[in-house]
Structure formats: structure tokens, C-alpha cells
Symmetry: C2
Subunit: 308 residues, 2 copies
Amino acid sequence: MYGVAIHGGAGTLPRSEMTSAREAQYRAGLSAALEAGFAALTSGGSSLDAVTRAVMALEDDPLFNAGRGSVYTLDGHHELDASLMEGSTRRAGAVCGLKHIRNPIALARAVMEHSPYVLLAAEGAEEFALAQGFTLVPQSYFHTEERLKQLVRIRDGDRSVSPLTISHVGTVGAVALDGRGRLAAATSTGGMTGKRYRRIGDSPLIGAGTYADDRACAASATGHGECFIRAAVCHDVCARVRYGGRSLESAVREVVHQELPAIGGEGGVIAIDGRGAVALEFNTEGMFRASRIAGGEPRLGIYRDAVI
Amino acid sequence: MYGVAIHGGAGTLPRSEMTSAREAQYRAGLSAALEAGFAALTSGGSSLDAVTRAVMALEDDPLFNAGRGSVYTLDGHHELDASLMEGSTRRAGAVCGLKHIRNPIALARAVMEHSPYVLLAAEGAEEFALAQGFTLVPQSYFHTEERLKQLVRIRDGDRSVSPLTISHVGTVGAVALDGRGRLAAATSTGGMTGKRYRRIGDSPLIGAGTYADDRACAASATGHGECFIRAAVCHDVCARVRYGGRSLESAVREVVHQELPAIGGEGGVIAIDGRGAVALEFNTEGMFRASRIAGGEPRLGIYRDAVI
């Protein structure tokens, strides 16, 4: 048994702004990332390889708020965050506040594999990246016209646009189970449109945006980062499975539909366990999501009523 | 019922380096911080006030690795981290990579109370601090001769000194229960001696170094930060109480003596629950610690065999 699930952010665009051409683009992006992760597993790769490759594909796709296509900070920059975790060893790596790294998840993995640290920040993380042979890219690499327009609307005080909603659209993540029964999770984001003061959200925080433990499950989250930190969302899902005896589905549902709404937290969680059970839950209008289990077909969804 | 417990780091100095005069200084520092927190509760203050005041007292004491007396980074600077959380609302605030803030815990509280964010980093956090009326202090404020000597020994490759052990000595934290049944936790640190690449440890991370939830308990941790992040230590303690039905003491013992050693994590945890039960556990030679419950006397300890 093996499998992979991915998300491209919760919240989704309002249906009014989602044309069928645009929806097709999102589906193509999700599909390509899902297959990148699934192919890693089919060829005998680890769950860590699968989540790394799936997330890198989403980072490279300008539609999603991670890597290329990341949202803008209030002062017109990009600051990227990412984390990943391996459930068998509970090793983890994370980076935050990156300005010049094309694939933040690849750097998070290097932090895990080649440093004594778990979380490196900003210039320090980029210094480590250079020492590891990474190439820096200019801020302009991350630019997309659409994300800049969103910043302008927020700066102008346009109340019809919620910084939360439009930023949710695009944080990316993946969870996987490999043929040796090992779990992994990864998450990457450009954060919240118009963020300032070097704000860090849940995505690079082990326990909040990402967690994996072979004794429970692997989870990746997307949503209102501050609430997700306060609820320690991904560790909470694992804890409900491990200590509370919940099924994966019950654990994820409790966190997404009870814990998070109680503190105003909008968003979603994807998770997978050692038997290949997959949960994809969200309390928003939709969540870009896809999954594929060994022997099965790919399943994609955007809105709540999508078959997945 | 109300009460407060504090720690000043796990690991402790080797007994060979601990003179009775030095031990008396540590005891005086712990005692003053404990009384600052306890006095807040006695006068009707909140648990949040109690942990803030206790941690500020420890930050101001140059003996501890937080605020004044913080350890040095590899390149001879200070980078301070702190976080706190309120168990009744699960609001939280945190800061990391500070270079010019005298009391990081006070800024973490301002982030919680006066920003829409939970975690702010480095220059961004200091920009927010200025906007909130904080005064910046020069790096020299944090200097102590002893911490500089520790850096020199590490830079020189002195194998008789472990960066982990000497840095453990001094991360500070507090947990409290107030008369209205509300819990709070706070943690502050200068991090790991000789750290580089803007490494962030567990102390500013909600769920890892700090967690509070009135439905479970409040906890603050100190130790090998990377392992503590991977184990999501403080949220794990709360989860074992809430979902696993453990007593506070059992939950803390399981995490400190089973979970952490399984991944090589040295350190300790302090916790308090809504009935005023206190747990102070460590898997190192000692942990600077103290507690006081309403109607009781202050209790202080350093080594394992101390009565507390």
C-alpha cells in the first residue's frame, strides 16, 4: 500500500471569479503535482521524496501561493516559508522568511538532512543555502501580475477582497505513505498577502502547518495561519489518533470543524495514515486537493460538492 | 486555588563548576522571579500577568540565558526568542531573532494583544516594537563575560564544553494558574551558544516551547530545541492530558522520560493544571526550578536530589 495527497490551499476563489478555463488550469497544476509525487512512490522512492517532488511542482506553478506566484508583503516583497517532516524518524526541516530561494521545500529538506538545526530564518537560511550549493534567484522570479494586483487592492483598502481568503488560495502541501510504511508531510507558502513585520505563519512550523509520526499519521494544513498555530493543528490531528483512538477521518474532522471554528480559524487539513486512509477536510468554500492511492485512479476536487 | 512554577533551564552546571556562592546566586534569582509571579496572583492579577512578570525577572537576571545574560551566536551577536500563551482564549504571541529588545517576553505579549499576528521575526518584530513604544537597547546590554568565554571555548573547539549543556543552563519559563481558573505559559531564551544561520529553537514556537489550554494544562520547556520542536513537546503534554486521560504528572513524565530520549532530546518541562497540580520533570543532571501554590511555601530545586 502507498499513496499521496496534496492541497493547493483552502478558501478557493469565489465561484464568481472562477472561469472554466481557470479551473482547468488549476486542475492541470494539481494533476501534475499529484503525478510527480505518485511517480516517486511507484518507482520505489520514499514518502519524503514523494512530498518533496509534489510540493516542488506546486512551488513552480505560478497559480499557487508558494515559490513562483507567491503573494506580496505589504512593502512589495516576497517572503517564503516551508517545512517538512519524516514520520519514521521524526526528523524535520523548515525555513522561513526566504527571499531568494526558488524551491523553499528543497531548502527545508537540506536543513533536515545536512544541518544540526530544524528551523532557519531569512538571511541565515539563505547563507546556509549558498553553503549547500543552492542558487539564489532574484525577487522578480516570484512575481505574478495577479498577486501584485491583490496587494494593490489590499493597500487601497478594497473591502471586497479579504487578505485571508485570497492568500489561502495557494498555500501548498503534500502527505504520503510509501511502500515501506513510512509517512511524510510537507508544506510551502508565500504567506499572507500584505503581511508585515516579518510575520511567520503556520506553514514553516512543525506541529502547526506540518507534522508526521508513523505511530499516528502525516498532516499538512492551509488556512488562517495565526489560528492554525494556536491550535497546533497538525500535531493535534496526530495526537487525537494516537492518544484519543480516533480514526484519521474523525481526528481531521474534529480539528477542522470543531477546534478551528471555535477560535475563528478558516482553512483545511490533508492527512494520510499507515493504512493508506486519506482525509481531505476544509471549513471554507473549497480546497484545491487531489489524492491517489496505489491501485486507484487520481481524484481531484476544488469545491465542496466535488466528487473526490 | 492559584499558583506559579518557573524554570531557569535544564542541564545545570556540572556540580564541579557549581560553588556554593554561585548556587546561592541562582537560588536568589529563582526566588525573586517566583515571588514576582506569585505576587501578581496574590494581588488578583491574571495567570498571564504572573508568567509575564516571572519571566521578565529572569530575563533581567544575567545568570540566565534570556534577556541580559543571553548566550552568543557564532558571529558574536545575541538573538533572542520568546513566546507566551493564554489557556482560556488560546491567544498566543511570539518573537524570534530579536537583537535589541530588553524583555522579549513583553514584546511577545504585545504581539498577542496588539497585532493580528502570532509570530514576528527579527527586524520586523523590532519595527513593530518601535511602533508600540518599546525602547531598543544596544547589543552590549545583553553582554556577560561568562557567556563570551563560553563562545570562545566553543569557537576554539574545546571538547570539554558542550554547546547544548551550557546553553540549556538558562532558558527561562513560567506557568501559572490564577484564581479564576485560567492557565498561562511563557518561555524566553537567548538560544544555543554558537548558533548560526539565524537558527530558531523551540522557545518561540507555540506547541513546542510553550502551550496553554484551560481544557488540559499549561507547559513551558527547556532543552535541546531541535528535538523539542520535533516532539512538539508542550502541545504533546496537553494532548496526553486531554485525549489520553493522563494525569498531569504522567503526561509530563512520559514526554520527558520516553518521547524525548527516544530522539535524543535532553531537557525538561514544567506544567500546571486547573487544579493546581504542578509537574517539574527533567532528564538531565538538574533543572533550575521553583514553584509556589496558594497557601504553601516556595519550593526551589536545582539538582535531581533537591527536595521540591
